[in-house]
């Protein structure tokens, strides 16, 4: 009790100091918000510009100073964009590749991650370090020999070179899934063993259902990276009807120069 009274009598800050620090807090809050909006406009303006010019005719695009809200609004670009390049064809090609890659990665990476997390075997940790080390290898080192190999077996200009490796695991996703599998309690596994389950049962009935969030992460990232991949399709897909969307986007530039409004 005495201590509390003593504290009350000798305030740490004088009242003017508190008022000053309150004001300075307000200033820093406002500058923070202003900066947030300023930097945010750097991220946002290109989008707005994209939207605004997608609604312009070719003549309107050249008007100086530019109009942010075009008058009149021209909606035709969107339908033109879809017909200017075989948009749906490219989209379908891309989705087929994505589907194979995602399915392949889900199966292979989850199996491998199980082997690295739920089973003890000699040399496991050494091999796992090897898996991590392969993440450092640049794509360019294996690119040329793989191209040579695939062209020898006449698989260039098919989607096989793009999807086949996905069925044999991927270091990044194996790492991701292993970390997640390690966090699943061991008791579940032991209970399953008592019930007579072998490792495949545990993998299929215990680990996979519990790892759904991690698997969803894998699906999302895997899909996004395959969808936006450029160099792989560029090398392997030579005939235009097999192109993916990323390759096809260049079509807006190559055929008649830049088609900005599309």
């Amino acid at each position: 009790m005495q201590n509390r009274a003593a504290l009350k009598e000798t305030p740490i800050y004088s009242t003017t100091k508190i008022r000053w620090s309150k004001a300075s807090k307000k200033i820093s809050l406002i500058t923070g918000i202003v900066l947030l909006i300023l930097v945010g406009s750097f991220f946002f303006l290109p989008w707005l510009w994209l939207l605004s010019s997608s609604l312009k005719t070719l003549d309107q695009i050249f008007i100086q100073p530019p109009q942010w809200i075009p008058k009149p609004i021209d909606w035709s670009n969107f339908s033109k964009a879809i017909t200017y390049i075989p948009f749906f064809q490219y989209m379908a090609n891309t989705l087929v590749i994505c589907a194979f890659v995602v399915v392949g990665r889900v199966i292979s990476c989850s199996l491998v991650a199980y082997g690295f997390s739920r089973i003890r075997w000699p040399g496991r940790d050494f091999v796992f370090v090897l898996v991590l080390a392969t993440m450092m290898l640049p794509f360019q080192v294996s690119m040329i020999p793989l191209y040579v190999i695939f062209s020898r077996v006449h698989l260039v200009n098919t989607i096989v070179p793009l999807v086949l490796p996905a069925f044999f695991g991927d270091a990044f996703f194996i790492f991701l899934l292993r970390q997640f599998f390690l966090s699943i309690p061991h008791e579940l596994q032991e209970a399953a063993i008592i019930d007579g389950a072998n490792h495949f049962d545990i993998y299929w009935r215990v680990i996979l259902p519990l790892a759904r969030p991690a698997l969803i992460t894998l699906v999302i990232f895997s899909f996004l990276w395959t969808y936006t991949d450029f160099q792989g399709p560029l090398i392997y897909l030579t005939s235009p009807q097999k192109w993916t969307l990323s390759l096809g986007l260049r079509g807006y530039f190559s055929v008649h120069g830049a088609q900005w409004s599309l």
Partner: protein
């Protein structure tokens, strides 16, 4: 035995899609190989030619180093500032976070196309804005002196994933530290310099290394920016956007000098390994690990 069975997909994949090609690539790098004829052993000639005769090799290497040494630090500082701004406790922060991070999802080709246009000298967004305050903007991607800085600005637009990692790190800094610093009378800048930056230095190291590895292999953005259709136009303007993997691609698939391209790939592998190891080693000196 079950363990080996479960990881067998990776073992097969490693042997077939990584180890074998890498060894093969080492062999190709000592040969003259044009895909049509079988490889022809020429010893170290590819490497000697690269290092003594090939001006474009040095050009590509220096352009890539420019991005790695200037572009990557700029990106890191910028994404750190963004993460600080996004970490403020104000309402509608979710809205801002979305705006900052969404550009990352765009395919690199689309980003490059968008920025080629944003920086279009006559009708682009940037020069139109500059013109409205009576400044004659440079020609950006069309100017050899401006092309790389403009590329760095573009790369700053897609730092979303780095921002996310920084943001997660910032939220892991214990608030007690800030509170005790406030009691000691530290101002915002001191808190930033003595608490935040040292405590998240391991994350900076991670972002630095992944950023460097990405920078050395950057392909899609410069490929799209300098033409994007024909290998002969790559690196425009005047080779200012000729990056290492672009030149490698050009050698492999345009001039079909597979041997020379393989030699380049091996040089790249060694450079990336040295850079990663040196960064890790020196990084440990300025990185503050929590030892408990």
């Amino acid at each position: 035995m079950y363990g080996i069975l479960f990881i067998s997909p990776w073992i097969i994949g490693f042997l077939v899609f990584q180890l074998y090609p890498i060894v093969l690539s080492l062999y190709y790098s000592f040969t003259n190989f044009s895909l049509i004829k079988p490889p022809d052993w020429i010893g170290l000639s590819n490497y000697i030619l690269l290092f003594t005769k090939d001006k474009n090799f040095y050009l590509a290497l220096s352009n890539t180093l420019y991005i790695a040494l200037i572009g990557v630090p700029v990106q890191l500082v910028f994404s750190f500032i963004c993460a600080l701004l996004l970490n403020q406790k104000i309402r509608s922060q979710v809205f801002f976070r979305t705006i900052y991070i969404v550009p990352t999802i765009m395919p690199a080709v689309a980003t490059a196309i968008l920025f080629r246009w944003v920086f279009n000298p006559e009708i682009g967004l940037v020069n139109s804005l500059l013109a409205s305050v009576h400044i004659n903007g440079p020609t950006w991607f069309a100017d050899p002196n401006w092309a790389k800085p403009t590329l760095i600005i573009m790369l700053c637009w897609t730092v979303g994933s780095t921002i996310i990692i920084y943001l997660a790190g910032l939220q892991g800094v214990p608030t007690e530290l800030y509170e005790s610093a406030e009691i000691e009378g530290a101002n915002g800048l001191q808190k930033l310099g003595f608490i935040t930056i040292p405590l998240i230095s391991p994350i900076t190291l991670f972002n630095l290394i992944t950023g460097l590895i990405y920078a050395f292999q950057m392909f899609t953005e410069p490929f799209t920016l300098s033409g994007g259709t024909d290998a002969s136009t790559l690196g425009r303007p005047q080779g200012s956007l000729l990056f290492y993997s672009i030149y490698l691609y050009q050698n492999a698939f345009y001039f079909t000098r597979m041997g020379k391209a393989s030699a380049m790939a091996w040089v790249l592998l060694v450079v990336i390994m040295i850079v990663t190891l040196v960064t890790l080693r020196t990084g440990n000196r300025w990185t503050n690990y929590e030892i408990r």
